[in-house]
């Protein structure tokens, strides 16, 4: 049997997932495209090809083409569960749900569905996640889980033995700290419900903010020197006063050598803006990792959408795609075995009854 000499089998599975074929395809595609870029540069500059700038540019082009490979590595390394959380899982979760339309497509709009997916029985949690694009809640919740299971429980289970034979553990120290008074607990609950209300009413989707800010940044950058002109037309005039310097015959402005930042923005513009235009995320989805693979449902859904095209907006049609892996990640029982959940306070303001 062929042995993987580079990595032991368990770690290669953890790093690269069950199949590496899609990674191989991406890697070979990026190498081939970089070689074709070399060919283009060679055609353009002939024998003088081979300056330091050429290699620098090629390196960044290769990295940019390789991003699909790297993102696939990140997406498929998401084998963490809430019982066994890992830092890589946190990175994968944060990235796929906010920057790429990766294996998790858009979130469902229905708070009940979201609450079910994150393993909570409270619709309020679903509301919060629908509005703030679930960044603050599940990612932080996941990070908390990571801290609890990977750091706090191991530390708390350490026992110190004194020379006299008595044992102390960190848990016994922490139990000496008095628990918060009922009044304080009430205050915390009220603050939590106010926070819920605030985000439900005024919260913006983080993933839409990221996409919009990126688009605006590209537009401002590409306006370049015309920026001041546009500003003047709009009515803002922040530009410096025009110089009254005398320009002799033959005077010319030396064109600046473009900075690395300029080149990177030039390289990244097409892919990023194309992805934002079609999918509203800054990196493209991976079609094979997109959840929801019922053929008949998709075909029938398209037929249905043609009959009710006027009433259903295209956005809401896309938004009902469920996300698969997240369910694996979070519907696992999120309570670690040693933690006892206090009974839920009944004085929480329920926001499900409110009409929007």
């Amino acid at each position: 049997m062929k042995k993987n000499l580079l990595l032991p089998s368990w770690s290669s599975y953890q790093l690269l997932g069950p199949t590496t074929l899609h990674l191989q395809h991406e890697f070979f595609l990026s190498v081939a495209l970089t070689m074709l870029t070399v060919s283009s540069l060679r055609t353009r500059y002939g024998e003088s090809f081979g300056t330091w700038g050429d290699f620098q540019l090629l390196f960044f082009i290769f990295l940019w083409f390789l991003r699909h490979f790297l993102l696939r590595c990140i997406c498929t390394s998401d084998i963490a569960t809430t019982r066994r959380p890992t830092i890589m899982g946190l990175v994968a979760y944060g990235w796929t749900s906010h920057f790429s339309a990766g294996q998790y497509y858009d979130r469902p709009n229905n708070p009940n569905v979201i609450a079910k997916h994150i393993g909570s029985s409270h619709t309020d949690d679903g509301h919060v996640m629908a509005t703030i694009s679930s960044f603050f809640s599940p990612t932080l919740r996941y990070a908390w889980q990571l801290w609890l299971i990977r750091v706090w429980f191991p530390i708390s289970s350490i026992h110190f033995v004194t020379p006299s034979g008595r044992t102390y553990s960190i848990q016994s120290f922490s139990s000496m700290i008095p628990s918060p008074s009922p009044r304080l607990r009430l205050g915390i609950n009220k603050a939590y419900s106010n926070w819920n209300d605030f985000w439900t009413l005024h919260g913006l989707s983080l993933q839409s903010i990221i996409a919009k800010v990126t688009t605006v940044m590209y537009i401002i950058y590409f306006l370049g020197k015309k920026r001041n002109k546009v500003m003047k037309m709009v009515g803002w005039n922040f530009s410096e006063e025009e110089s009254t310097e005398f320009h002799p015959y033959g005077y010319h402005n030396r064109l600046d050598v473009p900075t690395l930042r300029h080149m990177l923005i030039l390289l990244t513009a097409v892919g990023t803006l194309g992805s934002i235009t079609l999918y509203g995320r800054i990196s493209l989805p991976f079609p094979d990792l997109v959840a929801g693979s019922n053929v008949l449902k998709a075909v029938r859904g398209e037929v249905k959408s043609t009959t009710t095209q006027s009433s259903v907006s295209p956005q809401s049609r896309i938004a009902v795609v469920p996300y698969g892996m997240l369910r694996v990640l979070l519907t696992d029982d999120i309570t670690p075995p040693d933690v006892v959940i206090p009974p839920k306070e009944t004085n929480q303001v329920s926001i499900t009854k409110r009409k929007y």
Binding site: K2, L21, H22, Q24, H25, F27, F28, L29, V31, A32, L33, M35, L36, T37, S39, S40, R42, T43, R44, Y45, G46, E47, S48, F49, T51, W52, G53, D54, Q56, L57, I61, W64, F65, G250, H252, R254, L255, V257, V270, G271, G274, S275, L284, P287, D288, V290, G292, S293, V295, K297, A298, V299, R300, E302, V303, T306, T307, R317, I318, V320
Partner: protein
């Protein structure tokens, strides 16, 4: 929910466009020339002429500024750029198609089968004789096997026939037609795939043509450096495609040994 084939097509088109811009257009841009240090003093020759022309210099003394061609075998730069562009299109599309086939094989195969519920009928087909004039497609109606419908689009009149009871999907849907055409026979191990065979054949075709061009360039005594890079890229692309269809002989032998024991 859109079907996955359409998703694959959209993403492939964006990635193809991006590859064309980065690999074929960016190397020819003025800012790239200045960044890589090929254009002296940060000025391209066209910009220099603005200053040099008034003082009497109308052409450069050395001609290496004008002749920047690595492979000037008659077709010159233009032909080479066209060939690079074709290679980019073929390599990107074939690898992405092979990837889609390898990873979404059962989905695409099932969709190809479902999309066969409607077939196009030729106007002189015998089944049209004596049949009542077909009506327009109604998504709410249930069709039986042998029912005919008509679609008017772009001044053409196409007649579709149901090949099964209650066929799925729209009759006139380009993505469904394409899936049926491409993937209806895709089943089993990737090494039996027709589409992957065509993808790798296109790569090999590109490879052979480029080698012929190199031979021509050698005969004509011209440079062929950039063509060699195209050969390399095509080799890597075809290796990437064929990598998926290797049957894992070692693992199969291992399995056979385990069964025997």
């Amino acid at each position: 929910m859109e079907n996955k084939f359409r998703l694959i097509c959209k993403i492939a088109s964006i990635r193809l466009f991006e590859a064309l811009v980065i690999s074929a257009i960016v190397p020819w841009m003025g800012s790239t020339c200045r960044y890589t240090g090929h254009c002296l003093e940060g000025l391209s020759f066209i910009e220099l002429s603005r200053i040099l022309h008034p003082i009497g210099i109308i052409a450069p003394y050395r001609d290496d500024l004008l002749r920047r061609s690595g492979t000037s075998f008659g077709l010159s730069e233009f032909g080479c750029v066209m060939w690079i562009t074709i290679s980019i299109i073929v390599t990107t599309l074939s690898i992405l198609l092979a990837q889609a086939i390898t990873l979404n094989r059962s989905y695409l195969g099932t969709m190809g089968y479902i999309a066969g519920g409607w077939t196009i009928v030729e106007p002189n087909d015998p089944c049209l004789i004596g049949a009542s004039s077909p009506s327009q497609w109604d998504p709410r109606r249930k069709y039986k096997k042998g029912d005919l419908i008509v679609e008017h689009s772009f001044r053409t009149r196409t007649i579709y026939k149901a090949t099964s009871n209650s066929p799925e999907g729209k009759p006139l849907d380009i993505s469904l037609r394409a899936t049926h055409l491409l993937f209806s026979d895709e089943l089993g191990h990737p090494s039996t795939s027709t589409v992957i065979a065509y993808c790798s054949a296109s790569q090999v075709g590109m490879l052979l043509t480029t080698i012929l061009l190199i031979l021509a360039a050698i005969c004509l005594g011209r440079g062929y450096g950039s063509l060699l890079w195209i050969v390399g890229a095509n080799l890597i692309g075809s290796y990437g495609i064929l990598r998926a269809v290797h049957p894992p002989y070692d693992e199969l032998a291992d399995l056979a040994n385990q069964i025997k024991a």
